[in-house]
């Protein structure tokens, strides 16, 4: 049984998700506990169940069985309460390309129920944070890949969520934009926001995360601080070595 009194950031117990028509579960009795205030890295090969786990934590999917609590709330029974307190930066650039960055942020601010009187100030703060204030009236479709990723991040933090889920937020962008995003994520964490972060860039996870979990075939196969896990494994100099030793070198579909 999970104990809500502990109040971890999030907790799953026996979490299973089977998609209709699938031959094996995407998540297979996954147990995970993440503490408040951390930057938590979720690592795993393709098809390991990372995106499914984030979707469940964000109330996008319902579990087939097991329990999920985020910020002490059940994601199925108290979905709306969870949604008010979480933020998501999806892997896709989930913005309206024919609207400007400012128009996008204004719309999502209304959807997030930010009081009207605060919207303009908050939009400005977020655009400034991701370095897009100078080109806020440009349509998203005219942005470069890095600018789109930064605008994507800005929407995720508009309502100052207690926990921010980031699904590969730096994929396919140049070093400058990646650096800016990682710096901003560290600042957000210092200001009290917890982050749960998936990535295939191991050096990024090693640099940023306080704690990581490696999942494979829908189960957690290792969890701890990056340095602790590397030290505990034989012949592993970095997180990439550890990752390959845990998940193997065979190709994943």
């Amino acid at each position: 049984m999970m104990h809500a009194a502990d109040n971890p950031l999030l907790e799953t117990e026996g979490l299973t998700k089977v998609y209709s028509g699938a031959t094996r579960p995407a998540l297979d009795g996954l147990d995970l506990r993440v503490e408040t205030g951390s930057i938590f890295g979720l690592l795993g090969p393709n098809g390991a169940g990372k995106t499914t786990l984030i979707s469940l934590l964000c109330t996008l999917l319902r579990p087939t069985s097991g329990q999920v609590r985020v910020l002490g709330r059940d994601v199925v029974k108290q979905a709306n309460e969870v949604r008010r307190r979480i933020g998501l930066v999806p892997q896709d650039i989930a913005l309206y390309p024919s609207l400007t960055a400012r128009e996008n942020l204004r719309y999502f601010a209304r959807a997030l129920r930010i009081p009207r009187s605060r919207i303009e100030a908050r939009v400005r703060e977020c655009l400034d944070l991701v370095g897009l204030l100078d080109c806020d009236n440009q349509r998203i479709s005219t942005y470069s890949g890095g600018m789109k990723r930064r605008a994507n991040l800005a929407v995720g933090i508009l309502h100052e969520p207690e926990i921010l889920f980031l699904d590969e937020p730096t994929v396919g962008i140049d070093a400058q934009s990646r650096n800016l995003i990682l710096e901003r994520l560290a600042e957000l964490n210092q200001s009290g926001m917890s982050l749960l972060y998936t990535t295939h860039y191991m050096e990024e996870a090693q640099q940023l995360c306080d704690e990581i979990a490696v999942i494979d075939a829908g189960r957690v196969i290792a969890q701890g601080s990056p340095t602790g896990l590397i030290k505990g494994a034989a012949d592993c100099e970095n997180l990439e070595d550890l990752f390959l030793s845990l998940t193997g070198k065979q190709l994943r579909d």
């Binding site: 998609y19 999917l61 979480i86 896709d92 989930a94």
Partner: protein, 438 residues
């Protein structure tokens, strides 16, 4: 290399079941429905029987004979009863005005007397080359105000054929009676009563006008109440029909936005926010409802102000603006509801644009936008009741042509509203399935 491109394209298509459905099934449906619907239109001048009310008030035999002649043409199927009761003239007028029948033929009381007298006089006049005053028997025809010109002409022609048959029969009978009398008069006048057999006969000559003399006059009357003077015109028919057609094309952009939101991930993002499916869909509906209403106003204004400048009659919009507003809103809601449903169910913009467009064309065809419902074969007429465009068009025509009000169009408004609610309910069910991730 070219072959590789072709093979790749065919492979991609074969994996896209929805695309294939749209590519093959929808055009087949279109061909099927439009061909069936137009079948009777093309045969209207031919042999397909058209139902007509026939009210025979004649006290002599020729009204009945006229009925037989009309049915013998094969073009008309005469109906004399409605709800198991014999129809009289005023009921026939009401039934036609209400749109239950497209026209009614009324045979007056003195029809046989008038036709018999006219036949005798026309024959006599022909022998004596006189222009006698001939009063033809008169048939009244009530036409539905919404009946289109082409169809009206086809029906009138069929009626004229039946009438001609009766006229020839009556004239022949009159000629058979009059000819011996005229012959005797002529011979006696020339030779005297005793010498008729010894002299070369000079037979009386018939004037050529005899055959063309009209015995029965077709008198067309509108079935409107006298107080209502608006005459049906092409503008009255076409403007509301194509306005509805245009409004329903909102399906494509509306479905397109839903699909793009799913594809671009904005829908996923919104679903992690404290936003209900209902408010998301309602937001779209209100925006597109406004667009639909602007469309409707603009198109009606074209009928009212621009078409007359190009020489057509002015669009008369009836005398019930409130009813017109509610019809426009309910039709727009029905279009938006359908757009939402298409957007939720189909997977790509290509599918939405093809499926949306073809399904609207089919619904328009079924609903009488292209070809009036009464011209369709009976089976298609039965099917036409499922078309929301048909409900909308009926409601517009009720207001524009039949002087309808809010009460008389309420059943159609309710049907359009019901269709909107049904579409929205189905769309919500499907979108909840997304959220559950099944």
């Amino acid at each position: 290399m070219l072959l590789a491109h072709v093979k790749k394209e065919l492979l991609l298509l074969s994996r896209d079941r929805g695309g294939l459905l749209v590519l093959f099934v929808m055009p087949m449906m279109l061909v099927l429905v439009l061909s069936l619907i137009q079948d009777n239109l093309f045969r209207a001048s031919g042999e397909t029987a058209t139902r007509a009310l026939f009210v025979n008030q004649d006290k002599g035999p020729w009204g009945e004979e006229l009925a037989q002649q009309l049915e013998a043409t094969g073009a008309l199927e005469l109906v004399t009863k409605s709800a198991d009761k014999k129809v009289d003239q005023s009921t026939a007028r009401q039934l036609v005005f209400r749109g239950d029948f497209q026209f009614a033929i009324i045979v007056p009381e003195n029809f046989s007397t008038r036709v018999g007298l006219a036949a005798e006089r026309s024959v006599k006049a022909a022998f004596h080359e006189q222009q006698d005053m001939i009063v033809p028997g008169q048939l009244k025809i009530f036409f539905d105000p919404t009946l289109r010109g082409v169809y009206r002409t086809a029906v009138t022609n069929a009626l004229a054929r039946g009438v001609t048959g009766l006229e020839i029969a009556r004239k022949s009978a009159a000629l058979g009676r009059q000819l011996p009398i005229e012959l005797k008069h002529s011979l006696e006048k020339q030779f005297g009563p005793d010498e008729v057999n010894s002299v070369q006969l000079e037979l009386p000559q018939l004037s050529g006008d005899w055959a063309r003399q009209t015995l029965i006059e077709l008198h067309e009357e509108s079935s409107y109440p006298a107080k209502y003077t608006t005459l049906p015109t092409s503008v009255q028919q076409n403007v509301p029909a194509w306005t509805l057609f245009g409004m329903f094309f909102i399906v494509i952009p509306l479905a397109g936005t839903l699909i793009r939101e799913r594809q671009e991930g904005t829908m996923t993002r919104l679903m992690t926010m404290p936003v209900s499916n209902g408010s998301l869909l309602l937001g779209k509906i209100l925006a597109y409802l406004l667009i639909c209403l602007i469309q409707a106003v603009l198109m009606l204004m074209v009928g009212k102000f621009i078409l007359p400048l190009l020489g057509t009659p002015v669009l008369e919009i009836g005398s019930a603006p409130l009813a017109l507003f509610f019809v426009a809103v309910s039709a727009a809601l029905a279009a938006c509801g359908y757009g939402i449903l298409v957007g939720v169910v189909v997977r790509s913009y290509e599918q939405a644009s093809t499926f949306g467009a073809v399904s609207v064309v089919i619904a328009a065809a079924l609903g009488g936008v292209m070809v009036p419902v009464y011209v369709m074969p009976r089976a298609m007429q039965d099917l036409s009741v499922i078309s929301p465009l048909g409900w909308g068009l009926d409601a517009f025509l009720e207001i524009f042509i039949r002087d309808g009000d809010l009460v008389s169009v309420m059943p159609r408004i309710a049907a359009l509203g019901g269709f909107f609610i049904l579409c929205l309910f189905c769309a919500l069910l499907v979108s909840r399935r997304w959220r559950r991730g099944v």
